[in-house]
């Protein structure tokens, strides 16, 4: 850990249990549950809570509560929670997407209190299997409303499904825009704009034409190699992307349907950057804060940047400067000698300085970023 960085990073949990490479983690948006998935074809669920007792008040502890034997015949590559927190989607190399819900989930609606007894019971059931991709499914994501689900695959396609009651799904679009493997899909935080990152070095953005079909309205070029991951800023104005070209790019929405690259961050990773996540952060935040961006990759590093909106300039001056950023914290060898495959921020109130990572060592780690108290 670099001592001269403003924030302190602390590993608050090291969750073992996967028998093979851990690929991805996802925080339940409404319940204190963290899920992880792995090449071992399982999803592991952890319940967490604050310890208010001794010896370490305020610390967070994690407890493994469930392992879903998904029935996927190959690696579970990615997972996503629906905004309601009730449904979990799994994307597998077996080309299918699984939709999971817990038996009798309606009964318990204990939001934040003491949910230990609500999480432990009930088996997770596969409610639906979305078939259609020809080859490995790489990513899955729910739109902010929870009405749409997107997926992508090595078959070069991006699919949009409409979520119907009773775990029914209708295919709303199949976009064959990329010329290669599609690595990740991500939804805009408030609007129904979908972004996809590809092995063809581009990012594509899609919207729905209600009278017709989903279509690609923009292709963002600039990366010199595979784009591995995407993250919209919490305010939806920016999109961050990371790549095998060892850069992170920041794209700004300059018009309704126009996004431009406004920043290239280089020299912060030595090997492929596999994952980025953009959260609001926690604690000291000015009006101009755009949140915290975390990145990780094959070099085992975790970088956390803080972003600030550019100073407002008069509209007549034309070009707006890019948002400013500085490195808030860094972890080297986060998973020992192993690659780190993904990073995600906890979205829950009061815990937005917590992030999780999944590594080739099969371990899921949870980190807490503590910015300095003053200044």
């Amino acid at each position: 850990m670099d001592v001269d960085l403003p924030a302190n990073v602390e590993c608050v949990a090291e969750l073992q249990g996967h028998d093979d490479r851990a690929w991805h983690t996802a925080w339940n948006p409404t319940k204190p549950i963290l899920a992880s998935c792995s090449a071992d074809k399982t999803v592991r669920l952890y319940h967490y809570g604050r310890n208010d007792d001794e010896p370490d008040p305020g610390s967070i502890s994690f407890k493994h509560v469930n392992t879903i034997q998904t029935g996927h015949t190959k690696t579970v590559r990615a997972i996503a929670w629906s905004p309601s927190g009730r449904t979990l989607a799994t994307a597998s190399f077996d080309a299918n997407i699984g939709i999971w819900e817990r038996e009798g989930a309606e009964e318990e609606e204990d939001e934040d209190g003491n949910p230990s007894h609500t999480v432990h019971s009930g088996e997770w059931e596969c409610m639906s299997l979305l078939e259609g991709h020809e080859t490995e499914c790489k990513s899955v994501a729910y739109s902010s409303s929870g009405n749409l689900l997107a997926s992508c695959s090595r078959d070069k396609t991006v699919w949009v499904w409409e979520v119907h009651p009773d775990s029914d799904f209708e295919c709303m679009g199949v976009m064959m825009e990329h010329s290669q493997d599609v690595k990740q899909v991500a939804w805009h935080p408030t609007e129904e704009i979908l972004a996809s990152a590809s092995y063809d070095d581009t990012i594509k953005l899609y919207i729905d034409d209600p009278s017709e079909d989903w279509f690609c309205f923009a292709t963002l070029t600039g990366h010199a190699s595979t784009v591995w991951s995407l993250a919209f800023s919490p305010n939806g104005r920016y999109l961050a992307s990371c790549s095998d070209d060892l850069t992170i790019r920041i794209w700004e929405r300059v018009e309704q349907y126009k996004w431009e690259c406004v920043e290239v961050i280089e020299g912060v990773h030595e090997r492929s950057i596999y994952s980025i996540a953009w959260g609001t952060g926690e604690g000291r935040k000015g009006e101009d804060s755009l949140g915290w961006l975390a990145s990780t990759g094959g070099d085992g590093k975790i970088n956390v940047f803080e972003f600030h909106a550019p100073p407002t300039t008069s509209e007549t001056s034309g070009t707006r400067p890019p948002p400013s950023h500085h490195l808030l914290a860094r972890v080297t060898s986060a998973h020992g000698v192993h690659d780190v495959n993904s990073v995600s921020w906890c979205p829950r109130q009061g815990l937005r300085n917590i992030l999780s990572t999944a590594g080739d060592d099969g371990i899921v780690k949870v980190w807490k970023i503590t910015p300095p108290k003053e200044s």
Partner: protein, 173 residues
């Protein structure tokens, strides 16, 4: 359909350079790994040792020949850093459709043999293949490689190539 290169040039195999570390024929160099992992002052790996690991991989198209026989791999084409191994290989013909499979076999062999701290980069010799960039990109995409190894038909093709890898320069019978 025919082979990409039905009659490749065959080169005389160099004498076995050395026999270090692992047991003859072992795919898993457990001893090596422990030695290196446990000690801070490990004897660093050199290119000959890496070469020794991959020289006897069978060419997927020519089942009686090894990558060394065909000069697909050679010791000077290997670079070793403290935690990094870089392997360059030379396809026999510039349109060789087996190049990704050869590269994948090399990767799997090193994945199984080297201590985990090593990151491995694999690429074809510059100018040696018409799809050089595509092959290099695919071979170094960990997700593509991981998925490939979950494909039973492909894995079995890789295992066929690796069956002879443990010979480490000894001749095939």
């Amino acid at each position: 359909m025919e082979a990409y290169n039905p009659n490749p040039t065959v080169y005389k195999s160099a004498k076995t350079i050395r026999k270090s570390g692992a047991k003859e024929g072992s795919l898993w160099l457990v001893e090596d790994e422990e030695n290196i992992e446990d000690s801070d002052e490990v004897e660093p790996l050199d290119q000959d040792e890496i070469f020794d690991l991959i020289r006897s991989i069978t060419d997927p198209e020519h089942k009686h020949m090894t990558l060394e026989d065909l000069m697909v791999v050679s010791a000077p084409q290997i670079r070793v850093g403290s935690n990094l191994v870089d392997v360059e290989f030379t396809p026999t013909v510039p349109h060789c459709g087996m190049s990704t499979l050869i590269g994948l076999s090399i990767r799997v062999r090193l994945l199984r043999s080297l201590p985990q701290r090593f990151k491995v980069d694999i690429h074809v010799k510059p100018g040696s293949h018409q799809s050089e960039h595509a092959i290099n990109k695919q071979l170094n995409d960990k997700e593509r490689v991981a998925a490939a190894l979950e494909n039973p038909a492909l894995l079995s093709a890789v295992e066929d190539c690796l069956a002879s890898a443990g010979l480490r320069g000894e001749r095939l019978e």
